[in-house]
Amino acid sequence: MPFVPHTEDDIREMLATLGAASIEALFDEIPAELRCGALDLPPALKEMEVARLMHARAGQNRPLLCFAGAGAYEHHIPAAVWAVVSRGEFYSAYTPYQAEASQGTLQVLYEYQSMMASLTAMDVSNASLYDGATSLAEAVLMAVRTNRKSHSRRILMPKTVHPFYRRVVETIVGSQALELIELPYDAKIGRIDPGSLELHSGTDIAALVIPQVNFFGILEAVDELTDWASANGAVAIALVNPIALALLKPPGEWGKSGADIACGEGQPLGIPLSGGGPYFGFLCCRKAHLHQLPGRLVGRTVDVDGKPGFTLTLQAREQHIRRGRATSNICTNQGLMVTAATIYMALLGPEGLRRVALQSHQNTLGLMSGLAAIDGVERVFSGPFFHEAVFRTRRPTQKVMDGLAERGILGGYELTREYPELGEAILVCVTETRTQEDIEAYVREVKSLVSHG
């Protein structure tokens, strides 16, 4: 009996203690008509058999050379990260509610919070949320809660925010009477059109979402946008990439007084692509908004002997106490992923992270310059980019992507569905994991695909 250790003797003794004739007798409070019979499930497999099955399934997945980003990024993950994270004491530990028995996890979370606060130049970070999109949804809800001057519940959501994030935010905040107002982008530069903000000046806006880097890979004018928010009584929510922050000015330093909230996807920090999850979202804010921050928080304190230690704190905000009036219904955080991210950041350090960011940026520059030299291919936006950019070809994007896939390359993300106005455009990403040969191969294949058409 897999995972169940009981012997026949055990069962006999236990039933005797209970005075029950059989295990079935223990279910006698359940009405007979509710009992289901045999279920139509695949037959049980031994470990050897399930291993064979899963190796076959893993083998069915084709390892394409990755040039896609759009919210999930392939970076090198040091071997030490998952070797340590996979230890049973991290892997099979529970949420650290009993602090004395969880100092390991709690200290990791405290160190994580410290690193994220510094990376974003904010005062406080929580111990993580589910992913980047849900952290944006929580940031939006938090902005409405904290912005006491605003009564409108109107949020400015630029079109340069990842479309998948926008739809998640719609799903999550939809039932809470919030209004998401789309902000258009400048089609030449590829970033938020500052003129479009003028339309809203002087009106009651609860929050402005500022992506850096935006979905197209382009850098936004974050100082101007943050200052506009501040001048307009709107909460500035920064949606950021953590690797980019090793190179770019962090949200806490944007504009005259910095953004109020920073959130984003933590997957680039040591989390494998894994088909799309589990990842983790981060959420950071200024000290003044601390009591509205959803999710778990770890605080450093002392024990009765004065020894330093860590504990979950400010839990009264959370679901298990506040119930219907909680800041959010969130229960788990992504503990294991955050442990990985913390070890990753410790191994990379400030300089290591900066070089990953810089190499990714330079690789993308190299790719884009190679592509722009192809007849029939053009760079779509003129704005500076980080490690993603958009190019357009004279062939339908599906043909280009299919062709690249046949040649073993995942070419990027087709923008034709969410941004049809851009024509046959593809969002491509190059990280530090791609070599010169990889980049040359991509350019070569695109050239060949574009010229035969």
Binding site: H291, L314, Q315, A316, R317
Partner: protein
């Protein structure tokens, strides 16, 4: 039992209310309430100028194990809040009747008649 000054009015939800000369009503939580909550760690107060209805939740008192909504006992406008509580929320534990939360300029002081006196509040709290 906990302290229960005779000259105050009490709500079933454990707030105390003290009418003042200028038609304002000062509000806090009872000694029993702070005992139940435990060490207070944070207080969220309404904005001055906000209008409240009797029975409307307008503040939160947070302890390590609970977060309690505080309901205004009367309708009116918040004219004063106790800012000292942001640095020293423990004042509520030390003296619940001195550590007032907010002050309401009441629309209709007769609303105070629906509140309980010390005896009635004590009887109600004991059955909780």
């Amino acid at each position: 039992m906990s302290r229960l000054p005779d000259d105050l009015k009490y709500a079933k939800t454990h707030e105390w209310a003290k009418p003042e000369e200028d038609g304002n009503v000062r509000v806090g939580i009872s000694d029993y309430a702070q005992e139940q909550l435990g060490d207070v760690v944070y207080v969220e107060l309404p904005d001055v100028g906000r209008r409240v209805k009797a029975g409307e939740a307008c503040a939160v008192v947070e302890s390590v194990k609970a977060a309690s909504d505080i309901y205004s006992p009367v309708s009116g406008e918040i004219v004063e809040v106790n800012g000292a509580l942001s640095d020293a929320p423990e004042a509520i534990n030390q003296n619940a009747y001195a550590a007032w939360l907010f002050c309401v300029k009441a629309d209709d002081l007769s609303e105070l008649n629906t509140l309980l006196d010390a005896e009635a509040y004590k009887a109600g709290a004991e059955t909780d």
